[in-house]
Symmetry: C2
Subunit: 234 residues, 2 copies
């Protein structure tokens, strides 16, 4: 972000990115808090997560509107426009992560209320920590303008997808062994699905870093193709 | 889209919208074909849906890139910029609908292979037709610049969500009655989830119509608030 002369537009760009990163940290914490609420049967924390979601939505709209105004007012050149368009994409992914945290919190409610009766024991903590750390790594790659971190995150996303499929199989087995577990297993399934989606959003942010730095939309390319793009000179 | 003088930029804008609508029709048909494949046990149609998905992805990237170039080259004024930003949002939703069609087709495979053994009988046709017709209506509202259709679509999205919840309950009951249905019930559950997501994307497109015409981001507002926005003079 260092430039020779620092214009008011640069200051605005810096502010916008700072707000984006702040929002990113908030949504990461939302996912963590929703999972904590589930782990510790903390219904108060569930409600707190749901309340915070509204603030996230407002900040998403505010960042989006600011980016639009900046495009209108400054008619930025290709590289700055790319940054503004990336911010718009990333903020939309972050808000969706906030949505997934909300879904986790809502699905946690009946599980907490059931007081551990007929709740399948499934390890979700590890995969959730992985998905959240991917999102933090993607935002960090965005700050550092480092597309080389992106393909690592995309690979991790595939791992998260595989873990999710394993969880679905595990839940199916539990349900077959004891049909009384079925109702709460479906709640757990939706929580696992939300975690898997957090991984998808992290991968989307990682794609935006490639777009920002290399000027190329790599959304549907293979990881190998993307690595070639990154290795190629700008 | 009628203006007094018709510039090359206007022609480009028209082309872009035409391509967007074409893509919209293709993704609607993808969802319908994936569900047809499931209904008629047509594995060949499953593969056809998966093949078409790649073309959709390419067209998404092309429309996205074209819109970026148009912003760079023309530095459009507020109203045209809003149109270009709307196109970007809508094309992203359409591609995601294409993704859901792919997921439906993939989840249909094991169901088709099981030759109706231990497959729960759940009515998905009606809710799918509803979600797809919502998406067509949203695209039609976009063409007509008619935000008043948007809130109808948003209400229908809530109906689709409620139908999805009913399907989950129904599947839970089936699984409890006959645990041999569990594995295929989870496949059906994911198909129902994809249909529910198509409804979400239709509602997103409907929001973009309000943004385009009224200049206001209504993503997180209530339907009543949005109706007031639409009723207010421009």
């Amino acid at each position: 972000m260092t430039k020779h002369t620092y214009s008011p537009f640069d200051t605005e760009l810096d502010d916008l990115q700072r707000r984006l990163l702040m929002l990113g940290e908030v949504v990461c914490q939302q996912v963590e808090r929703a999972m904590d609420a589930l782990a510790t049967n903390d219904m108060e924390l569930v409600e707190e997560v749901l309340r915070t979601e509204k603030a996230i939505n407002r900040e998403e709209v505010a960042i989006d509107d600011t980016s639009t105004q900046m495009i209108v007012r400054h008619a930025p050149a290709a590289v700055d426009l790319r940054l503004l368009l990336s911010v718009r994409q990333i903020v939309s992914d972050l808000e969706r992560v906030g949505d997934e945290a909300k879904k986790i919190a809502k699905a946690a409610r009946p599980i907490i209320e059931s007081e551990s009766k007929f709740v399948p024991k499934v390890e979700l903590h590890h995969v959730c920590a992985k998905a959240v750390s991917m999102l933090r790594a993607a935002l960090d790659a965005f700050v550092r303008r480092d597309p080389s971190a992106s393909t690592t995150i995309m690979r991790q996303d595939k791992e998260v997808d595989a873990i999710f499929k394993g969880i679905v199989r595990q839940l199916a087995t539990y349900m077959m062994e004891d049909p009384r577990l079925i109702t709460r297993s479906l709640d757990v399934l939706f929580i696992a699905k939300s975690i898997e989606r957090v991984g998808d959003h992290a991968a989307n942010v990682a794609e935006q870093v490639v777009y920002l730095v290399k000027g190329r939309n790599v959304r549907h390319e293979s990881i190998e193709e993307i690595e070639q793009q990154i290795a190629a000179k700008r």
